[in-house]
C-alpha cells in the first residue's frame, strides 16, 4: 500500500518534471504582449496558432515530414541493430570491445564534426537536399541506441529456448516469431523509440544534409526562436514536443504491461 503511494508520487513528480518547461511555452503561444513585470499576458490571442496551423507557415507539412523521417530512421536502425546486438550480446570474439567503441562513437563525437564531414561526401554523391539523404544521415547518431539496448537484451537472452523449440520441430521462422522476438520485444521497442527520438531532435545534420530543402520542425522552430518571436516559438514548440511526449508516454505504458525478460538459466 505504502509502496503504491510512493510509486504514484514518483510518477507524478516525473510527469511534472517533464511538463514544467512546457507551461511557459503554452502561455507564450497564446500571449499577446507579455512583458516584465506582468505575471500573466495582458491579452490573449490565437494569432500564433493560426499562423502555425496555416499552410503559409508550412508547420503541419513539416510535422508530417519530421514524423516520416523519424519513423523510417527508427525502423531501419532497429532492423540493423537486431543482428548487431545479437552478435555483440551473445558472442565473444576478438576485437569485440573495439566494435563496441566504434558503435558508440557517433553518440560521443560532436555533431558538428560529423555534419561537416558528411556534407562534403553527400554533396559529391548527390544525396543532399533529399529525404533519403537525411534519413541516411540520421541513422548515424540513431544506430548506437538500439544497438546498445539489444546488446544488453541479448546478453541476458538464453539461446537454449531456441534450441528447445528447434528440438520440438519448429522451423527457423517459427523460432524467430514465437520464441526470439517475444523475448526481446521490449528491447526492440525501447531501441526503436530511442532511435525515433534521436531523429526527431536532429538539427545540424538535417540543416547540412537537407540543404534547407528538407524542412523538419526543429529547423522551423530555430528560425522563430532566434528572431525573438516567443509567441510563434511557443506554438511551434508545442506542436513539436507533444508528439514526442505522447510517444514516450506510450512507451512507458507498454513497458509496464509487458512481462519481464526470461532469466538466463544457471549453468
Amino acid at each position: 500500500m505504502k509502496r503504491d503511494v510512493l510509486s504514484a508520487l514518483a510518477r507524478l513528480a516525473l510527469a511534472l518534471f517533464l511538463l514544467m518547461p512546457l507551461i511557459p511555452l503554452a502561455i507564450w503561444s497564446v500571449a499577446h504582449g507579455w512583458r516584465f513585470p506582468a505575471l500573466l499576458p495582458s491579452e490573449l490571442s490565437l494569432a500564433a496558432w493560426s499562423y502555425a496551423l496555416s499552410p503559409v507557415s508550412g508547420v503541419v507539412g513539416s510535422l508530417g515530414l519530421t514524423f516520416f523521417i523519424a519513423a523510417v530512421t527508427s525502423v531501419i536502425a532497429t532492423a540493423l541493430a537486431y543482428p548487431a546486438g545479437r552478435a555483440l550480446g551473445r558472442l565473444r570474439f576478438p576485437g569485440r570491445s573495439v566494435v563496441l567503441v566504434l558503435v558508440l562513437a557517433p553518440a560521443v563525437l560532436p555533431a558538428i564534426a560529423v555534419a561537416l564531414g558528411l556534407q562534403g561526401l553527400f554533396l559529391r554523391m548527390g544525396w543532399t537536399g533529399t529525404i533519403w539523404g537525411v534519413v541516411l544521415a540520421h541513422l548515424i547518431p540513431a544506430l548506437p541506441y538500439p544497438t546498445l539496448v539489444l546488446t544488453a537484451v541479448f546478453a541476458r537472452f538464453d539461446p537454449h529456448h531456441e534450441d528447445q523449440a528447434r528440438c520440438l520441430g519448429a522451423r527457423p521462422l517459427q523460432v524467430l516469431l514465437h520464441v526470439t522476438l517475444p523475448a526481446v520485444l521490449p528491447g526492440l521497442r525501447t531501441g526503436a523509440v530511442l532511435a525515433f527520438l534521436i531523429s526527431w531532435s536532429q538539427y545540424l545534420l538535417t540543416l547540412s544534409i537537407g540543404g534547407g530543402k528538407v524542412q523538419t520542425l526543429p529547423l522551423l522552430l530555430f528560425t522563430f526562436a532566434t528572431s525573438g518571436r516567443n509567441d510563434l516559438t511557443g506554438a511551434v514548440a508545442m506542436i513539436y514536443v507533444l508528439p514526442a511526449l505522447a510517444f514516450m508516454a506510450l512507451l512507458l505504458r507498454q513497458r509496464s504491461k509487458t512481462a519481464p525478460l526470461p532469466n538466463r538459466t544457471d549453468r
Partner: protein, 403 residues
C-alpha cells in the same frame, strides 16, 4: 554503367549550363519568361517574421504562379550566412550546376563573401524590364556596404537606421549622438548595445565612430590606416567613458539584437535600435514592444543601406529566379510591401520613375505610429562605410572594449 553515365553527365552539364547562362544574359525578356514557365524557385530568406513570410508565401507566390506559371518555394533560414556556406560547400564539391539555392535575400558581409568566393551569377540585371526603375546612379544602391554591386544582385528594400523608445516612460528622447552620450551618463543602467560583430551593434558603434570623426566626409573611400588610428582612439575613449553607465555597468553586453529587444520590451533599457525601423512596427503589432513605442533618427544622421536578392552561380532555375526578381521590383509589389499592415519596407526603386497613380498611392500610404517616416530619416542620411572599415572597427572594438 552508372559510373559511365555519371561521368558523361558531369562532363556534359557545365557546357549546357554555359549556353543557358548566355541566353539569359543576351536573350530577350520574352525568351527568359518562356524558359522560366513551369519552373520552381527555391528562395532562401531569413524566416523570423510571420508577416514577411506571409507576404512572400501568400501574396508573391500566388502572383508568380498566376502570372508566370512559376512555383515559389520559400525556405526560411535563421541567418543568410547559412545559405552562403551552403553554396560555398557546393562549389567546393564541384557542383557547378543544379545547386539547391535559386535566390537569396542578402546584403553586406554575406554579399562580400559571395563575391570574394565567386559564388554569384552576375551581369544580368540590365535584362530585367523593371531595372529601369532602379536609380543605379545612387551610390547607396550601386554599392552594397561599399562593395560594387556590378550586376550581381537586384535591390529589394532600402532601410535606414532608427532608434526606438517607449514614449510612455520617456517622452522626449535625445535627438543627436552628442545628446545621447550625455543622456547615457545621466541615466545609469538604462542603455546598452549588442556587442559587435552583431550586425546592429556594429552599426551603432559606427555611428559613434562617425561622430568621433566629426562627420562621414573623411571616412568615405578606401580604408586609411592613419585616419582610422586617429578616429578609433577617440571612439574607444567615448565608449570606455560611457561603459560604467551602461546596463549592468557595462560588464556584459547583449550578444544579439534579439536580446536587446527583449531588454527594451521588459523596460530594462530605454532604447533599442534597428537597421530597419519597420521592424519596430512589426514588433508592436506582434505584442512584443509596448504599444507606445515611437522611433526617431539622429539630427547628425543615421546610416542607410540597401538589401538585395542574389542568384548563386550554380542555381538550377536562374530564369525563374530572374522573373521573380523582376516581379519584386515592380511598382505594384514595391507598393504592396510598403503597406504598414503588410511589412512597411521602404522601396528600392526610384518612386519618381513610376506612374502618377503609383506615386500617389505611395504618398497616401498610412503611417505606422511606431515607425519613423522614411522621408524624415532620409533628410539626415549617412552613407555606409566600406567593408574594410567595418572589419577594422569590429576588430578594434573587440580589442579595446569587449575584452
Amino acid at each position: 554503367m552508372l559510373r559511365i553515365l555519371a561521368v558523361v553527365l558531369l562532363v556534359a552539364a557545365p557546357a549546357e549550363a554555359q549556353t543557358t547562362d548566355d541566353t539569359l544574359l543576351s536573350g530577350t525578356w520574352d525568351q527568359i519568361v518562356a524558359e522560366a514557365e513551369g519552373g520552381t524557385v527555391n528562395w532562401f530568406m531569413w524566416g523570423g517574421s510571420d508577416q514577411i513570410n506571409r507576404y512572400v508565401s501568400d501574396h508573391v507566390a500566388k502572383r508568380l504562379l498566376a502570372d508566370y506559371g512559376i512555383t515559389l518555394n520559400r525556405i526560411g533560414v535563421a541567418d543568410a550566412v547559412e545559405v552562403v556556406n551552403m553554396v560555398l560547400a557546393e562549389k567546393e564539391a564541384g557542383i557547378d550546376t543544379g545547386g539547391a539555392v535559386d535566390l537569396i535575400w542578402i546584403n553586406g558581409e554575406n554579399f562580400r563573401s559571395m563575391r570574394q568566393a565567386d559564388l554569384a551569377f552576375c551581369g544580368y540585371t540590365g535584362v530585367l524590364p523593371n531595372n529601369v526603375l532602379v536609380n543605379w546612379e545612387n551610390p547607396a544602391i550601386a554599392n552594397d556596404f561599399g562593395v560594387p554591386v556590378d550586376g550581381c544582385e537586384v535591390p529589394w528594400n532600402t532601410v535606414q537606421f532608427g532608434f526606438a523608445h517607449d514614449s510612455a516612460t520617456l517622452p522626449e528622447p535625445p535627438r543627436s549622438m552628442a545628446e545621447l552620450l550625455v543622456w547615457i551618463k545621466a541615466n545609469p543602467g538604462r542603455f546598452t548595445y549588442p556587442a559587435p560583430p552583431d550586425f546592429t551593434g556594429s552599426a551603432f558603434v559606427r555611428h559613434v565612430f562617425i561622430h568621433a570623426a566629426g562627420g562621414p566626409e573623411n571616412l568615405l573611400g578606401p580604408f586609411d590606416q592613419s585616419k582610422y588610428d586617429e578616429v578609433a582612439a577617440k571612439t574607444w575613449t567615448i565608449l570606455n567613458e560611457i561603459e560604467p553607465f551602461l546596463w549592468r555597468e557595462g560588464r556584459t553586453y547583449p550578444t544579439t539584437l534579439v536580446q536587446m529587444n527583449e531588454l527594451f520590451a521588459n523596460g530594462e533599457v530605454a532604447f533599442t535600435f534597428n537597421y530597419d525601423p519597420s521592424q519596430f512596427g512589426l514588433a508592436v503589432d506582434a505584442g512584443i514592444f509596448p504599444p507606445d513605442t515611437r522611433s526617431f533618427g539622429l539630427s547628425d544622421g543615421t546610416l542607410g543601406n540597401t538589401n538585395y536578392t542574389l542568384i548563386p552561380f550554380n542555381a538550377t532555375n536562374k530564369a525563374a529566379a530572374m522573373v521573380l526578381q523582376n516581379l519584386l521590383l515592380s511598382p505594384e509589389e514595391q507598393l504592396e510591401k510598403a503597406k504598414p499592415e503588410v511589412w512597411g519596407a521602404a522601396p528600392a526603386i526610384d518612386i519618381l520613375r513610376t506612374s502618377a497613380e503609383v506615386q500617389a498611392a505611395f504618398a497616401a500610404l498610412p503611417k505606422h505610429p511606431s515607425v519613423v517616416a522614411a522621408s524624415e530619416l532620409a533628410a539626415f542620411a549617412l552613407p555606409e562605410l566600406q567593408a574594410d572599415w567595418l572589419t577594422a572597427i569590429e576588430a578594434g572594438w573587440r580589442a579595446e572594449i569587449g575584452r
